[in-house]
C-alpha cells in the first residue's frame, strides 16, 4: 500500500516499479506459469497412459503400416511405414485443398463480377448461386455430389466415354496421360521457357510504361508466346505425343490418370461452396472502390479496360485479400470432411486408420493438429505478405 505514495513522486519511479519492467515481468511470469501448466498436464497424461498400459511415443512412425490406401501421390505399398501414411494423407489433403483454392478462386471471381453485371439475368443467376450454395451445409453438398450425382453413374463396363480417350463411371474419371519420354517432354521444356520469357517481357513492359508512357499489348503477346512456343516444340519434335490411354482390363480401367470419385465429389463441393463466399468478397471489394474513381479515370482518358486494370482492381484487391485469406483457410480445414465419403486425406488415413491400428491417439492427434496449424499459418503468412505488397503506398 505504501507503494502508492511512492508513486506520487513522478521524477524517479524505482526500477521495479517502472511500467516497462512491470509489463515484461508480468508477461514472463504468465509465460512461465503456462509452461509449468502444460508441462504438468503432459507429464500427468503420459504417466496415466503408462499406468494404463497404453504405448506412448513416436516409435510407431517407423513400424510397417500394412494397409492399402486408395490414392497415393508418392509410391506407397502395404510395406510402407506409418510415417509414410502420414505423408500420403498430407499430400492428399494438399492436393484437394490446392486444387480447391485454384478452382474456387476462378469461379468465385467470375461469379462475383457477374453479380455486378448490368445484365439483369446474369446478375440474378449469380445472386441465386451465391444464396443457394452459401446456405446449404457443406457436408450435405459433399453427400449430394457423391451419393446423388456420382453414385448413379454406370459401372466400368458401361462407362460414359468421349471416344477412346475419356471415361466416366462410378469408379471415377479416367483421362489419358501424355507420356513424358516422347514429344511431350519437349513441350514441357518449351512451356517453361515461355513462362520465363513472359515474366521478363512483363518486367520490361512495365518499366517502359513508367519511363516512356508507352503501353504494350502484354496480355495478347503473352498468350501467343505461351501457346505458340509449346506448339512449335510439338511440331518440331515431329508431332509425336504418345498418350497412355485408359483401357478396361479385368475389373477396372488401367493406365491413364484416374480421378477417384471421392476426390471428384469433394473437389466439386469445396469449389462450389467456397466460390459462393469468394464471390461475395469480390463483389464487396469492387463496390468499395468509389464510383468517383472510375469517373476520374475515364475523365483522364483511360480506357474502360485500363480503368479496370489500373484503378479498380488494385484498390479492390486490398479489400478482398484479408477475407479471401480466411476463405482459403476455411477451405483447407473443410477438406477434412473428406472422411465422410472415404477420400483418403490426412484425417481419414492418419487420424483414422493409423490411429486405430496403433491406438496412439495423443501423438497422432497432435501431429494432425500441428499440420493444420502449420498450413493455416503458412497461408496467412503468404497472404499477409501479398497484402502488404498490394497495400497503399503512402507518399
Amino acid at each position: 500500500m505504501n507503494q502508492a505514495s511512492n508513486n506520487n513522486n513522478p521524477e524517479k519511479p524505482s526500477f521495479f516499479n517502472s511500467p516497462q519492467f512491470r509489463s515484461i515481468a508480468a508477461q514472463a511470469l504468465l509465460l512461465a506459469a503456462m509452461g509449468v501448466f502444460f508441462y504438468f498436464i503432459i507429464q500427468n497424461m503420459l504417466a496415466n497412459m503408462e499406468a494404463r498400459g497404453i504405448t506412448t511415443g513416436f516409435a510407431f512412425l517407423h513400424e510397417k503400416a500394412g494397409f492399402g490406401i486408395l490414392q497415393t501421390l508418392i509410391p506407397y505399398s502395404e510395406d510402407s511405414t506409418y510415417g509414410r501414411t502420414f505423408i500420403v494423407g498430407l499430400l492428399n489433403t494438399l492436393l484437394v485443398s490446392g486444387l480447391g483454392i485454384v478452382f474456387a478462386s476462378i469461379l468465385g471471381f467470375i461469379i462475383g463480377v457477374a453479380r455486378l453485371s448490368k445484365n439483369w439475368l446474369v446478375s440474378h443467376i449469380a445472386g441465386v448461386y451465391i444464396e443457394t450454395f452459401r446456405n446449404i451445409p457443406l457436408l450435405l453438398q459433399i453427400f449430394f455430389w457423391y451419393f446423388a450425382v456420382i453414385r448413379p453413374l454406370p459401372s466400368p463396363r458401361q462407362s460414359l466415354s468421349i471416344g477412346d480417350w475419356i471415361f466416366l463411371n462410378v469408379r471415377g474419371l479416367y483421362l489419358p496421360r501424355p507420356e513424358l519420354e516422347s514429344g511431350f517432354g519437349w513441350m514441357l521444356a518449351a512451356l517453361a521457357i515461355a513462362i520465363v520469357a513472359v515474366l521478363l517481357l512483363r518486367r520490361w513492359a512495365i518499366r517502359r510504361h513508367y519511363e516512356t508512357g508507352k503501353t504494350f499489348p502484354l496480355l495478347l503477346t503473352s498468350i501467343v508466346i505461351l501457346v505458340g512456343l509449346p506448339l512449335l516444340a510439338y511440331l518440331a519434335s515431329g508431332g509425336t505425343i504418345a498418350w497412355d490411354r485408359p483401357v478396361l482390363k479385368g475389373f477396372n480401367f488401367q493406365g491413364g490418370i484416374t480421378v477417384i470419385p471421392e476426390l471428384l465429389a469433394l473437389l466439386i463441393a469445396l469449389t462450389i461452396y467456397t466460390a459462393a463466399f469468394i464471390a461475395e468478397t469480390v463483389r464487396a471489394g469492387i463496390l468499395s472502390v468509389s464510383r468517383g474513381q472510375t469517373e476520374a479515370a475515364l475523365a483522364l482518358g483511360l480506357t474502360q479496360t485500363q480503368t479496370l486494370n489500373m484503378v479498380i482492381i488494385p484498390q479492390a484487391l486490398r479489400v478482398i485479400i484479408p477475407p479471401l485469406t480466411s476463405q482459403y483457410l476455411n477451405l483447407v480445414k473443410n477438406s477434412s470432411l473428406a472422411t465422410a465419403i472415404g477420400y483418403p486425406d490426412l484425417v481419414s488415413v492418419f487420424m483414422g486408420t493409423t490411429l486405430n491400428q496403433t491406438g496412439q491417439a495423443v501423438e497422432i492427434i497432435s501431429m494432425t493438429m500441428g499440420v493444420y496449424l502449420t498450413i493455416s499459418l503458412l497461408i496467412s503468412a503468404f497472404m499477409n505478405w501479398y497484402n502488404h505488397k498490394m497495400a497503399l503506398v503512402e507518399r
Partner: protein, 332 residues
C-alpha cells in the same frame, strides 16, 4: 499468483485420480455403458422399435444382469470401427462388445484387455454374382470395399501380397457406407469377417445377387474388451461370458433354470448359486444372466443361428465337446 498456483495443482490432481473402479461407477450410474456397432444385424443392431439386439448386445445384457440384476439396464453407444478403442480408453464406455478381433497389438499396446471370445470368425469375400468369380484368387486388380480401422484392412493387404495380386482399397468409415458402395458398384468386392458378410448381405436390396466366396483368409476371434488396470471389472465381464458357455455345456437354459435350481449335479449347483462374492457380485449373478439372457447356445441361435435370418452354422462356435472350439474354464 498463489491462487493460480493453487488452481494449477488442483487441475493436475484431478487428472491423477482417473484410475477408477468401473464396478462402483456402474452401480452408481445404474447402467452399463456398452460400446456396440452402428448397426450390424446379428451382432449388434437396433430393431424397428429401437431395441438393441445381437450376440454382442447379449454380452452387455449379461453383464448388466450380473451386476445390476436387470439385463435391460444397458446404455448403448454405437461406434464405428475407428472410434471404438478411443471410446473405451477414454472411459466413455465401460465395455466394448463390438465384433472386435483379439490381436496382440490391441491387447498389448492399447491399454485394453480382451475378456474372451464370443464368436470365432474369419475374413471372407463377397462379390456380385454376375462377375462370375468363383474364388478369391481370381480377384487380381479388383476394387475392394472395406471398413477403416479394422483387422480386415490388414489381412486384405497380406492376402493380396502373398498371392502376388493387386487391389484398390476403397475405405469407408461405417458398414453402412461400405455396403452401399458395394451395392452401387464402387467396388467389385466387399470383404469383412465372414459372419458379417452374411449380416451385410441381408441389407442389400437383392441379397441373392451377391455370393460369398469360399476362402477364409484369417483368424478373427471376436470378443468383449475392457480397460486394462481394473481387474475386478475384467473378471466380471470375463466370467459373464464363461457362465453363458458353461450353462450351455451343462444344459442349463433360460427356460429350465428354475427346475435346474433343484439339480443334484454339483457343477450345476455351483453355476447357479454361489461364488458371487468372489467376483464382488451378489450370489444370483449367474442365475440372472441365464434366466434373463440365456445360455450361449440360445444366444447364438436367436441372433445369428437357425432362429435368425442369418442362419449361420455353429461350426467352430459349437461347444468343444460337440465338434467346435467354444470352451470355458470351469466355475468352481
Amino acid at each position: 499468483m498463489k491462487k493460480l498456483a493453487a488452481s494449477l495443482i488442483a487441475i493436475a490432481c484431478i487428472g491423477g485420480v482417473a484410475s477408477a473402479d468401473t464396478l462402483e461407477a456402474v452401480k452408481k450410474n445404474g447402467h452399463v455403458k456398452c460400446g456396440v456397432t452402428t448397426g450390424l444385424p446379428g451382432f449388434s443392431a437396433a430393431d424397428e422399435k429401437g431395441v438393441w439386439r445381437g450376440i454382442d448386445v447379449d454380452i452387455c445384457r449379461g453383464v448388466a444382469a450380473a451386476v445390476l440384476g436387470d439385463a435391460n439396464k444397458v446404455k448403448y453407444t454405437p461406434l464405428t470401427a475407428k472410434e471404438r478403442f478411443t471410446a473405451l480408453q477414454s472411459g466413455e464406455i465401460d465395455m466394448l462388445s463390438r465384433n472386435t478381433t483379439w490381436t496382440l497389438t490391441r491387447d498389448a499396446s492399447l491399454g485394453l484387455n480382451f475378456t474372451g471370445v464370443n464368436y470365432y470368425d474369419g475374413q471372407g469375400f463377397m462379390v456380385n454374382k454376375n462377375l462370375g468369380v468363383k474364388s478369391a484368387l481370381e480377384l487380381d486388380g479388383a476394387a475392394i470395399c472395406i471398413q477403416a480401422g479394422t483387422t480386415t484392412e490388414l489381412n486384405l493387404a497380406d492376402y493380396f501380397k502373398s498371392h502376388n495380386m493387386k487391389y484398390r482399397a476403397v475405405t469407408y468409415d461405417s458398414s453402412d457406407q461400405t455396403i452401399k458402395g458395394f451395392e452401387a458398384g464402387r467396388c467389385d468386392v466387399l470383404t469383412s469377417d465372414q459372419s458379417q458378410l452374411y449380416a451385410l448381405r441381408i441389407r442389400l436390396a437383392k441379397p441373392e445377387d451377391a455370393v460369398v466366396l469360399p476362402e477364409i483368409i484369417s483368424k478373427e476371434p471376436l470378443g468383449p474388451v475392457v480397460r486394462q488396470g481394473d481387474d475386478k471389472w475384467f473378471n466380471i465381464v470375463k466370467w459373464t461370458l464363461f457362465a453363458m458357455i458353461n450353462a450351455e455345456e451343462l444344459g442349463v437354459s433360460s427356460s429350465n433354470i428354475k427346475e435346474m435350481k433343484k439339480s443334484k449335479n454339483p457343477a450345476i449347483q455351483r453355476l447357479i448359486t454361489g461364488q458371487g462374492e468372489k467376483l464382488g457380485l451378489s450370489d444370483d449373478w449367474s442365475y440372472n444372466i441365464i434366466s434373463q439372457v440365456g445360455n450361449y447356445g440360445e444366444i447364438f441361435d436367436r441372433n445369428v443361428g437357425a432362429g435368425s435370418p442369418l442362419k449361420i452354422e455353429r461350426g467352430l462356435n459349437q461347444l468343444w465337446n460337440k465338434g467346435g472350439i467354444m470352451y470355458a474354464p470351469p466355475i468352481r
